[in-house]
């Protein structure tokens, strides 16, 4: 059943490393920009940044194939970027403008893409978990061999509906990967203070669900663990629980003073476990790229992100007639 620590280092090409490097860096720069725009008053409401957790979604997207579906909580910008949604559309949604992915009516926590099979963006902790199982039910009903990547945090992992979903997903052998993004803190409550058992990958055991835990700061390990999970689901073995141990550098949301942990604790992770630095190191050591190459990539990504910010600020607010559209089909 539950297996401890998947740690598979695959042989990996320089091109692949560069791809992950770019994808993770795009997320980081995008989130930094979002934080900046929030500070400038361009983004309102709640805004939850993904900085520090980049390897999770990039690693798992590397294990996904066309047609797979994914959904997550309100910390969702990265999931959208990683599955190929347009940074301009995401940023314009953050600023609440008409070119946003939800025409400015969803905001940071509520974006969707039928095309990329990204099903939100959910603001209620753990509400996306049964929905993710339902997407898997639809996939199976239609005879597809696609899987549903259902992301939720360590906080959501204590919600009752998660276990209702585990039960039904196992009972009906639904192809769903329950990805627990364990970033150690449910808002301001550390998992030691909230979870009676801290090993989330074992939480499916009572339902007969295979589980594994992986270092979520290592994109290659995440990818390898994701591939095992995906293979399990695609083979018709039912659901899988994958706990990805990660860390968020920023507060829970922009308004979080983060008094529940020390500066030193955060700094230590940044210094020793940063997912982007880790790949950067591998690229340099393996001679896959020079320091200048990497600088060039960073510059290019910064340009993309700045363009998205410019786009998001230039885009007009929604037409006032949009107030009454999209309530019913």
């Amino acid at each position: 059943m539950a297996q401890k620590k998947t740690k598979a280092k695959a042989n990996i090409s320089g091109d692949e490393l560069l791809k992950y490097y770019r994808e993770m860096l795009l997320i980081r720069r995008f989130e930094e920009k979002a934080g900046q725009l929030y500070g400038m008053g361009q983004i309102g409401g709640f805004c939850h940044l993904y900085i520090g957790q980049e390897a999770v979604v990039v690693g798992l997207e590397a294990a996904a194939k066309e047609g797979d579906s994914r959904l997550t909580s309100y910390r969702d910008h990265a999931h959208m970027l990683a599955c190929g949604m347009d940074p301009n559309g995401v940023m314009a949604e953050l600023t609440g403008r008409r070119d946003g992915l939800s025409k400015g009516k969803g905001g940071s926590m509520h974006m969707f893409s039928k095309e990329k099979r990204f099903y939100g963006g959910h603001g209620i902790v753990a509400a996306q978990v049964p929905i993710g199982a339902g997407l898997a039910l639809a996939n199976k009903y239609k005879g597809e061999d696609t899987v549903s990547f259902t992301y939720f945090g360590d906080g959501a992992a204590n919600q009752g509906q998660v276990y209702e979903s585990f039960n039904m997903a196992a009972l009906w052998k639904l192809p769903v990967i329950f990805v627990v993004e364990n970033n150690q803190y449910a808002m301001g409550t550390s998992l030691q203070r909230a979870a009676s058992t801290p090993d989330f990958y074992t939480r499916g055991e009572a339902f007969g669900i295979t589980g594994a835990s992986v270092d979520g700061m290592d994109v290659l390990a995440v990818k390898a663990a994701g591939e095992l999970a995906v293979a399990h689901c695609r083979a018709g073995n039912g659901p899988y629980v994958l706990e990805v141990k990660t860390y968020r550098y920023r507060g829970h949301s922009m308004s979080d003073p983060a008094k529940y942990r020390t500066r030193e604790e955060v700094q230590k992770v940044k210094d020793n476990q940063d997912p982007i630095d880790m790949i950067k190191e591998m690229l340099l050591q393996g001679d896959h790229a020079s320091a200048d190459d990497l600088k060039g990539i960073d510059k290019e990504i910064k340009k993309t992100v700045q363009a998205s910010a410019d786009f998001a600020i230039a885009s007009p607010e929604p037409d006032i007639n949009e107030l009454y559209t999209d309530i019913l089909v």
């Binding site: 009516k105 099903y119 049964p130 199982a133 997407l135 639809a138 009903y141 209702e164 309530i327 089909v329």
Partner: protein
């Protein structure tokens, strides 16, 4: 003294049943606990046991008798030493036909149901159908025509439905499309929402809407709001259905009308039919609707028969009220089971020379305001009738709309007849008081007509 065996009530709402089979014959010795008969209720076939020892003296109701009212004597058991000569037996009806419903809930006067002509073409024939069958037929027809429609809920498949609404569907459509769920409303409602996002058209049956409170977040935050939050990209084309409102003597947690709750939510459609024809036509429309539809049924109405038009693919549009009865003096607006009080009151008022127009909203969201307002402009008086709680009721809302749109036409304040502002009591007398009554409707009408 001989013991009379009475037709038992085998569910909270059972009024009559079929004596399917006798498992004993006259002259047999029986002991307590022995199964005497199989009795078919509208929900299930149940075994009926003896509670006394003795000899079966007489079977008063023959095997296969239908519509045997609860409390009708069905057999006599002699105690030791008694026989048919010596035993003193209370009078028992000779035939079933003569038996009277005894403890049954108040039966409304059956008012001829004029099916409005917008619904069916002239010359249409009708078949008497129960609401229960009508709902089942609607689901079966839609499942036949659309592969993506499926039913999920507690006891919908192998048990054939807790209230037998899904009877036969498992046989016809198989376990892939008629899915028994664990008792986890929050979880399976969410799974159904996900399936709807993923391109299917789920019908979620809640055993009753009381249990849907467990799933409220998924219904409102996930199903109702996603279309808006996604800027129109995706929504939840699905139906949440099941019995709503008070059944009979099931207490506060199982007796509540949710019409006003769901009516509050933009992004939902809310339907609450009264007749079998509307139940069928509206459920078919609901299943086809690309939006999440809350379909509120009523356990007390499941067994009631109405004429259903013999039309292939009969649908009733959501959002259109029906005028059941035209009148001049007052408009009665109701929906769902409230209609039985409205219609009964109208009948009695007619005897007193007061002509009531009866409007069945059928849909609670969107509400057909135009039909209500047109009627109020004609009668100048309005009484609303519903079983739900009084505060923030549908009647309150209609009163406000009538005030805004027809203030100058009103000759009296609108009165809202509702259930009482109390949790539903269990005791029979208190429950009766907590529910709305026809007498209250009549009294309200007399108030607004100054009689």
């Amino acid at each position: 003294m001989a013991i009379q065996i009475l037709m038992p009530a085998l569910s909270p709402t059972m009024e009559e049943g079929t004596l399917a089979k006798w498992l004993v014959k006259e002259g047999d010795t029986v002991e307590s606990g022995q199964v005497l008969a199989e009795i078919e209720t509208d929900k299930a076939t149940m075994e009926f046991e003896a509670i006394d020892d003795g000899v079966v003296g007489k079977l008063l109701v023959s095997e296969g008798s239908e519509n045997v009212a609860v409390n009708t004597p069905i057999a006599v058991i002699f105690e030791d030493g008694e026989d048919s000569e010596s035993a003193v037996i209370a009078d028992a009806p000779a035939t079933v036909e003569e038996s009277q419903p005894s403890k049954a809930a108040p039966q409304p006067a059956i008012v001829a149901a004029p099916i409005s002509m917008e619904d069916v073409p002239e010359g249409t024939t009708f078949t008497s159908t129960t609401v229960r069958e009508a709902l089942r037929d609607a689901m079966a027809e839609e499942m036949r025509s659309n592969e993506n429609v499926f039913l999920m809920g507690e006891e919908v498949a192998e048990y054939q439905g807790a209230y037998k609404v899904s009877q036969g569907l498992l046989d016809e459509f198989g376990a892939k499309r008629v899915i028994d769920t664990p008792i986890t409303e929050h979880g399976f409602a969410g799974i159904a929402v996900g399936a709807a996002f993923g391109g299917l058209n789920p019908i979620v049956e809640f055993m009753t809407f009381n249990f849907a409170m467990q799933a409220m977040d998924q219904i409102i935050n996930s199903a109702a709001k996603t279309l808006y939050m996604s800027g129109g990209q995706m929504g939840a084309p699905m139906v949440f259905r099941g019995p709503n409102g008070a059944a009979s003597r099931v207490g506060a947690q199982h007796s509540q009308c949710y019409a006003a709750w769901y009516a509050h939510i933009p992004g939902l459609k809310v339907v609450m039919p009264y007749s079998a024809a509307d139940a069928k036509g509206l459920l078919k429309s609901a299943i086809r609707d690309p939006n999440p539809v809350i379909f509120l049924e009523n356990e007390m109405l499941y067994g009631r028969s109405f004429d259903v038009p013999d039309i292939d693919d009969f649908t009733v549009p959501i959002g259109k009220a029906k005028v059941w009865r035209e009148g001049e003096d007052v408009t009665l607006v109701s929906f769902g089971i409230g209609m039985q009080y409205a219609l009964e009151a109208a009948e009695k008022l007619a005897e007193e020379g007061i002509s009531a127009e009866v409007v069945d909203l059928r849909s609670i969201r969107p509400i057909d305001y135009d039909t209500v307002i047109a009627s109020v402009k004609k009668t100048n008086r309005c009484v609303t009738i519903e079983e739900g709680f009084p505060v923030a009721s549908i009647g309150n809302h209609l009163s406000a709309i009538i005030m805004e749109r027809a203030f100058d036409y009103l000759d009296a304040p609108v009165i809202n007849c509702t259930g009482k502002d109390v949790p539903m009591p269990y005791a029979a007398n208190l429950e009766k008081l907590a529910l709305i009554t026809t007498a209250e409707v009549i009294s309200a009408v007399k108030t607004v007509t100054y009689r």
